[in-house]
Structures are given as structure tokens and as C-alpha cells.
Subunit: 334 residues, 2 copies
DNA sequence: CTGAAAGCGCTAACAG
DNA sequence: CTGTTAGCGCTTTCAG
């Protein structure tokens, strides 16, 4: 391992000068600089970043905590984070909690031990108190999720108005018996998506039949099963708003099996715009979150905090889009 | 920032003792140990891992270099890597090359600068010479891919025999005009999958019609487009072996649009068993790679190298499975 | 513009 | 079983 002192010796300068050439080249006389650069080259010197980090007390690394890697929505965000991070010379550590709160706690130690300069969380299942304390002492941003009342920098969409938009679309197409297959209500986003459904219905003077609201698990199978339940009703719904695309696909599968044609006999809207929603047959009408942008922005907010120019801890809400494809039939008429 | 010396002072011992309590508790008298632990607790001391890393010259971090994060096959492997890594107290850094060789080179510096203890590569597009040199000086394993002739530790499946198995299945179902939509031939895996197709055909005395082999791009659209070409032939094929699932889905979409029924009028086999292939209608018959296991094994091989007990640099080839679903019709009869 | 020197916080011989 | 001590390799004052 060739080290800085070797370079210094070869170039007949002090290590301080070598260090300067590396970090502030303009402060070194050209002649000396060239000498040093030549020595670096000759020796194929690579600085030991660990030592630098210890000295400077920063790692240029951030931690991304995901509940589940295999989710393409999360992945889109990670892609954005990674892009913005490497643009700023930051590396990203990946932490998978597998939906276990305990793993969240374990990952937090990386921050406390100064192994990363900051952290981006995809969901905050841990105790509020601990989270708050964490945010006060370290750069943290929450993405995809947000916590009411707490002023934690976060980036998300407005799940309520997005869902409202989705349901409103169904209503505009003339549907009145609209069912909702929600996500598990323990997630804030599931509650919000339900609220949006509710608001759109009430706003159009449609009453909400509690039979028409079924709690799913965000999985294909749960969408399929809940749809079967709905189809068994005396007056089944003519349209479904599913809280994510996987469940929407399950819904469509169940409908197809019962001989129903989507969209002619049943209209379906999903949520997330996962990559397969355009490939699925029929292609899914769904709400698209600006995932890449959310990732970039999250990283930028984090950098702001790390660099200390955090104008103020802020919460961003980005626009979502209703992507109209085939699963609801004719375009909006209103 | 409370440091080790603070703990030492409070507990009335030397820093050496504190260090021992942390790393080799059994070598410290219980009484002293408890005193130290209490001090650690009282001060909420968190060791500065950076300093430890510098001193021990190891990071407990490995780097995973992926060509493209948004690929669920890669993701399955990453999941396995991550699981095995965290079981061994290793962290994983994520590097996305976006399919740019230059980014590969950039990421390699992390290894050279001792920022990670080892590296798992998903594809090796860089120059052979550089790769070889890298492997000689650092722990590296190649996964999903392998390089003929070079003895680089790697974990992969046998693409040739897997494809042979897929095509043999179609032949067993009575098909003789079988087309292949390959991946870009610049990838070794594409070539191998083609070879498997060729071998199965020749083995069954079926001649290969070069018109029946079309090079795709591993994308849904390319599968769709190449299928349209095939359908325009005077004697179109009755079965398709696509080099990945996305293309297989494109194939099916094109077939459906032309009024063909899959599997009745056309049998299709894919490759990869991405999660969506079971949801797709018709559910895809495809080759499944043991991705999670590949990830685990890759990580284990890497750890072996890092820890120096690398019995020998070895290349592992895991078994793949033909998953029979709906897209080929009736079960194998042979 | 450059060099000397003092650490960053921890670990690991080596003594005792 | 515990303390002393000498660094890991780099950065950064402070002088010159």
C-alpha cells in the first residue's frame, strides 16, 4: 500500500503539500504541483479514504432504509437517489428492513456511529420519540411517507387528492357503484387513499356502502380474493379503485375468470404505475408517482441538511398523475 | 461526541480496557467489565467506527455493482446478498453503472481506496486485463455472468443447458417450427441462450431456419416488434422461445393482437421467471434462476476471499428450473 | 508557497 | 487481567 508519505518522499516535498495538491491544487505552485502529480502517477498512489474520513469526520455516504427491496416503486426512488448522490460524490448504502421495525433500529446505529452522513427513510415505523430525537441530531429525510404533526423533512405525494382524482375519473365515466380495495389500514398511505375515495364519493353525493370497501394486503392475491368477495354480492360494483397496481391486477384476474370483460363490464383503476401496468392486458389506468424525482429531491434535501444550509426543515408534496390506459374504458367525458 | 477516553475516565480504566470490553468481553474481569459497561451506558457512548476501520484496515462493507437497478432479476440477487451480508455484519454499498463501462471503472476506485472490502459484479464489461488485475489484488466475485477462460470466482446458471431444456419442452409438445428471439448478441448470456436453442433443435434433427432467429433487446417492445416480423412470414412459427420474460410478453401481446390464442395457436417460453410472469395472462412458462440463492452464495464466496480462507477461486454453476405454467399448453407428454 | 507537527478515535503489541 | 504506548494515513493549523 503506497501512502502519502511515499509520494512526498519521491517528490521531495512534505505530506502537507501532497495533501494540498489533492484537495486545493490552486494553492500550490505549478512546478511543485507537477512534481507531485508525477510522483502520484509513478507510484499509482490511491489515497486512503478511511484516513481522510476519520480526519475530516465525514463519510460521503448516505444510508437508504427500505422496507422491502423487491418493490419497483421503491426502486424508482432509489434510482433517483443514487443518481443525485453520485452526482454529488456521495455513495449510497442500502439497508433492507424486511418490514421489521427492529431492523430499523439496527440501521440507525450506522448514523450514530458516524458511518453515514445522513439517512433517507422510506417509512417510519419506529417510535415517534426515537424518530424525533434522531432527526434532531442527524440529517434525515422521509420519503414516500410522512408523519402528521412532526416537522420532519419529507417528500411525498398527496395520497388523498390522488385517490380522489382516480375515483373522480370513474365517476365521470358514469359509475356510481364504486368499490375500494384498500391497503392494510395500519399504513398511513392506505388510510389516505381510502379518504380520497370517500371524499370523491361524498362530493358527488354517492353514498358509501361499507360492503364496497375491502381491506387488502397490497398483493396480487389479496386483490384477487377481495374481488371474489365483491363479485359474490347481490349487486356487485361496476368499478373498482384498488390502492395499488398489484391488487388491481388481481381484481382483473378474478373478473376475467368470472367471464367479465374489463373495461366493458367492469372499470378498474390502480395506484403506483408500476412498470408492468402498461404491459398488463388490459393496460392499467393508474396513478403515477413521480418516483425518480422524489428520489432526487429527497437526496437534495438530505444534502442541504448535511451541508448545513438547510433553509428550514421542510415537507414537500409532489404532483401525481392519472395515467389513463385501457382498464376503465372510454376517456373522461366531463 | 463522547469518545472512548471519556468512558475510560469515568470508569477509571484505560482506553485499552474499554476497547477490550467492546471487542473481547471475556478477556476482562467481570467487575471491571460491568463498570465499563455502566459508563458506556451512562454516556450513551457510540464507538467511532471510522477510527476502528482505519486502525484495523477493514470496512465491513462490500460493493455491489449493478448495470441497472430497475431489473427485478438483479434485485432478487441483491436481496440474497443483502441477507447474507447483514447476517455477517457486513453492509452493502450499491453502485449503479447504468450500463456504462466508465461507471464501472469509477466504482472500482472504491475498492482500491479501501472503502470496501470486496466487490460483487453483475457483469464485467471492462477490459479483461483490468478485471484480471483487479481480481488478483482484491476480493471480487462475478454473479449472473461468467468469463470463459478466466478463473474468476463466479456464480451463475448454465444458460446453454437451461435454454436447451426450455426448447426441448416445446419440442416435446410436438412443435417443430420454433423461433428464437434472442437478447443482444454482445452479451455472453444471449449467445449461450441461443446455443441452447440450437443444440436442442439439432439434437432433435430439426433444422434451424435463420429467419426464425431474431435478435431482440431484452425489452417488451423488442419482443413485440420481432414477433410481428415472424408473423409476417409465409410459414410463421408455432412456438417461440424468448431469451427473457419481457420479450415473451411482447411476443404474446403481438400474437393476441393478430387474433392468435396463446397457447392454442402459439406456444411461448420465456426466461428469468420475473415476478410478473405468474400474473401475466396467460401465465408464462419460463426458466427460473435461483436468484436469492445466487446472491447468498456470491456473498459467501466473497467473504471467503476477504477472510483469506478461499479454498480456491471457484466457479459455481447452479441449477435452473423450468416452471411450467399456461403459455405452452398441455404438460409435457414425452 | 511550503514544512513541521499535532492530532482524528481507536486498536494491539508489549509489559507488568 | 490491565495499562502504556505507538501508531493507522491523512488534514490542518501555525510558522516561516
Amino acid at each position: 500500500m503506497v501512502k502519502m508519505s511515499d509520494v512526498a518522499k519521491l517528490a521531495n516535498v512534505s505530506t502537507a503539500t501532497v495533501s494540498r495538491v489533492l484537495r486545493f491544487p490552486e494553492t500550490v505552485k505549478e512546478e511543485t504541483r507537477l512534481k507531485v502529480l508525477k510522483a502520484i502517477d509513478d507510484l499509482e498512489y490511491q489515497p486512503n479514504i478511511l484516513a481522510r474520513q476519520l480526519r475530516r469526520n465525514e463519510t460521503n455516504t448516505i444510508l437508504v432504509v427500505v422496507p422491502n427491496i423487491m418493490n419497483t416503486v421503491f426502486l424508482g426512488i432509489i434510482e433517483g437517489i443514487e443518481a443525485e448522490a453520485s452526482k454529488n460524490n456521495y455513495k449510497v448504502l442500502l439497508g433492507n428492513t424486511n418490514n421489521e421495525v427492529d431492523n430499523e433500529y439496527g440501521l440507525i446505529d450506522l448514523l450514530k456511529q458516524k458511518q453515514t452522513d445522513g439517512m433517507i427513510l422510506f417509512s417510519a415505523r419506529m417510535e415517534r420519540k426515537r424518530l424525533l430525537e434522531l432527526c434532531e441530531n442527524h440529517p434525515v429525510v422521509l420519503t414516500m411517507d410522512y408523519i402528521d404533526g412532526l416537522k420532519i423533512p419529507s417528500v411525498s405525494i398527496d395520497n388523498i387528492s390522488s385517490s380522489r382524482k382516480a375515483v373522480q375519473h370513474l365517476i365521470s365515466l358514469g359509475h356510481t357503484r364504486i368499490a375500494h380495495i384498500s391497503g392494510p389500514f395500519k399504513y398511513a398511505s392506505s388510510k389516505d387513499r381510502y379518504k380520497g375515495y370517500e371524499q370523491a364519493m361524498l362530493h358527488n353525493d354517492l353514498k358509501i356502502d361499507s360492503m364496497l370497501v375491502q381491506e387488502g394486503l397490497f398483493t396480487f392475491e389479496s386483490g384477487y380474493n377481495q374481488m371474489l368477495k365483491l363479485l359474490a354480492m347481490e349487486h356487485p360494483p361496476t368499478a373498482i379503485f384498488a390502492a395499488n397496481d398489484e391488487m388491481a391486477m388481481g381484481v382483473i384476474k378474478a373478473a376475467k375468470e368470472r367471464g367479465l370483460n374489463v373495461p366493458n363490464d367492469l372499470a378498474v383503476v390502480g395506484f403506483d404505475n408500476i412498470s408492468f401496468s402498461s404491459i398488463f392486458d388490459p393496460a392499467l389506468t393508474t396513478i403515477a408517482q413521480p418516483v425518480y424525482k422524489m428520489g432526487e429531491l429527497s437526496m437534495r434535501l438530505l444534502l442541504d441538511q448535511i451541508r448545513g444550509n438547510s433553509q428550514m426543515k421542510s415537507q414537500y408534496i409532489l404532483e401525481s398523475d392519472l395515467v389513463i390506459r385501457e382498464s376503465c374504458g372510454g376517456r373522461e367525458t366531463s
